[in-house]
Amino acid sequence: MTFLEVKNLHVEVEGKKILDGLTLSVEKGQVAAIMGPNGSGKSTLAYVLAGKDNYQVTGGDVLFNGQSILEMAPDERASKGIFLAFQYPVEVPGVATMTFLRTALNAQRKARGDAELSTPEFMKRVRDTASNLGIGQEMLRRAVNVGFSGGEKKRNEILQMAVLQPLLAVLDETDSGLDIDALRIVADGVNRLRSPDRSMVVITHYQRLLNYIVPDVVHVLAKGRVVKSGGKELALELEARGYTQFQGEAA
């Protein structure tokens, strides 16, 4: 079943065309890798899926679970089950990580008509995941991402994803800025969340991440559209031959 369907999507940022007729389908339970050179539109795709406001959609549509999401506010998309793990998570001074997680989870549950999670249930959900990700109590008490290292910020993104349990997780260059140990912790965290009910879109520039999060399919993005799709071996081919072969032909 097609879970996410991006149809002939055209997107501009400040009058500059970034996505140029992008078409992409992600099946339920599928892990799809999106690879491509810098400037190919990978992060734009991630932000458009999450609903950032300075991206102007000039054509096409995005269907999630058969429903167009383009008119939905970011919080509404989140409540429908879309989650973006940011490439550069922002610092939120003054808001403790624990408060942030609880506010977000309860807001989503409320939007879906579910009751708030009880405190013990909530604490258990956070603690179990946090310890797997090497996130201690001290970090949970601190303001969101404030004073966190690059690796800590990325782990915090995965923690949020684990607590919110989205149906579609978009991981935007989750590997950037991580050393090999941090990468392994983050990838393990993502792999624990793989499920037949959850789809993932893993955006990366390098094949390295895909050694740890093995995708079901790989799509290559160049100049704002998908130029090639294949199995996980496509990532290895790209690693060996580079992106130059696609940069010319999409022009």
Partner: protein
């Protein structure tokens, strides 16, 4: 410049003059106190109400803003006292010793006067009438020729006089509760608090002014090696002027915090002198403004002695057509070497019509000091808001959380858990009312 008595007086200035003429014989205190009143009144009479060409009052033109001067409040009636009984509810959760003032007059039957060793409490009216030795300190803590202070000195009716004896650590916070009624009256209150050497005290001061015009002042003496934590809150429908005059001794710790919410027209001025070496001071505050509210915070920090550290941090959240003013001046005197002073003010603008004026100033006459200041005014951060919304938090809630965080950064500096929670609770209530 205006020299001598001004020929043309505004109606408010005339009314204040008439009020003083009528009250001078009845106001508490004879001899030196009466002379102090007379000279203070002459200063007011010469200068008139401060206006925009007086640099310190540039953004709060009292001559234009104070259309009329309300008559001095009569002694509180039963209704006013009943209202005062529940005033200062912002600190209701704190087990403090309440000293209650209704329409500017001390109400002993609503106050907690149970004895505590080392604590001496009296009303200013009584202290002035009896010529208490503490009264000799009035006007000496931080001498200033500010007109609002002069008016206060001329017309002060009552207030608290408190002495905490050397070495005493008060068991409970003191809470000065000031409550105004809904009548158009004026109250001039002056309090004098002396915390002696090596003593410790937490002082809370809440003003629920109602629709009264209030001119309140506090002189605070922090002795050598003493520690004082001081938090003042203001809620007012009319004009509210507050002046803090503080002198901090050597090796002392002073933390002051101002909180203004639902305050129509406020001038909050603080004169703080580091009068001994090796002290630490934090002077902070949060103002929440909506509608056409105007809150002016004006600081004068005088580093008169060296080796002191001061931190000044003020934040305002401004909605609708609110107008927040921050003027902060740090003076480092010629011999105050090794002074470490940092001042920061930030304004969060929630609407296109919101206005913030920030004016930080440094005057440094010593050469071996660390001093700095910064000021910002901006709308809520879009990237932060998107991050919160992308996690499912609706826009209004995301904005509230960011405002809470903005305020929280300053409130966090208060060491007492109960007081911190009380202020955050009041801030959340303000946010909730915003809808």
């Amino acid at each position: 410049m205006n020299v001598g008595v001004r020929a043309v007086k505004t109606p408010a200035e005339q009314a204040l003059g008439a009020a003083f003429a009528a009250a001078r014989a009845k106001l508490p205190g004879k001899g030196s106190v009466a002379a102090l009143r007379e000279s203070a009144f002459r200063r007011f009479d010469t200068q008139g109400l401060p206006h925009r060409r007086v640099e310190e009052w540039k953004y709060t033109d009292l001559r234009a803003l104070m259309r009329e001067a309300f008559p001095l409040a009569a002694p509180p009636n039963p209704a006013t006292k009943a209202h005062a009984k529940d005033a200062g509810e912002i600190f209701a959760g704190i087990a403090a010793r309440r000293l209650v003032f209704a329409s500017g007059a001390f109400v002993p039957e609503l106050s907690d006067l149970t004895p505590e060793p080392g604590l001496f409490v009296n009303s200013l009216a009584d202290a002035l009438a009896k010529g208490d030795t503490l009264v000799a300190n009035i006007g000496k803590t931080f001498e200033t020729d500010d007109t609002a202070v002069a008016l206060n000195t001329a017309l002060m009716c009552d207030g608290a006089t408190i002495r905490v004896a050397a070495g005493t650590a008060l068991k409970r916070p003191l809470h000065l509760v000031f409550a105004g009624g809904n009548e158009p009256t004026a109250a001039f209150v002056r309090s004098l608090v002396v915390i002696e050497k090596d003593a410790r005290a937490t002082l809370l001061e809440s003003h629920d002014s109602g629709s009264a015009q209030v001119n309140a002042a506090l002189e605070l003496v922090v002795g050598d090696d003493a520690r004082v934590d001081y938090v003042r809150t203001t809620q007012a429908q009319g004009l509210h002027i507050f002046s803090l005059m503080a002198a901090i001794g050597a090796r002392a710790v002073f933390n002051g915090f101002s909180f203004n919410a639902d305050a129509q027209l406020v001038r909050n001025q603080m004169f703080v002198r580091f009068a001994g070496e090796g002290s630490k001071g934090g002077i902070r505050g949060v103002s929440l403004l909506k509608g056409k509210e105007h809150v002016d915070t004006t600081l004068l920090i005088d580093h008169a002695k060296g080796h002191c550290e001061s931190r000044e941090q003020f934040k305002s959240v401004i909605d609708d057509e609110g107008h927040a003013v921050f003027q902060g001046k740090i003076v480092v005197q010629p011999h105050a070497q090794k002074t470490d002073a940092k001042m920061m003010t930030r304004a969060l603008l929630l609407s296109d019509e919101a206005e913030a004026d920030n004016k930080p100033e440094l005057e440094i006459f010593a050469d071996d000091v660390i001093c700095g200041h910064g000021a910002t005014a901006s709308a809520p951060d879009k990237a932060l808001k998107f991050y919160l919304m992308s996690r499912g938090i609706p826009e209004a809630e995301a904005e509230a959380l960011l405002i809470q965080a903005f305020i929280g950064e300053v409130v966090e500096e208060i060491s007492n858990d109960g007081i911190r929670e009380a202020l955050m609770f009041a801030a959340l209530k303000w946010l909730g009312a915003r809808g």
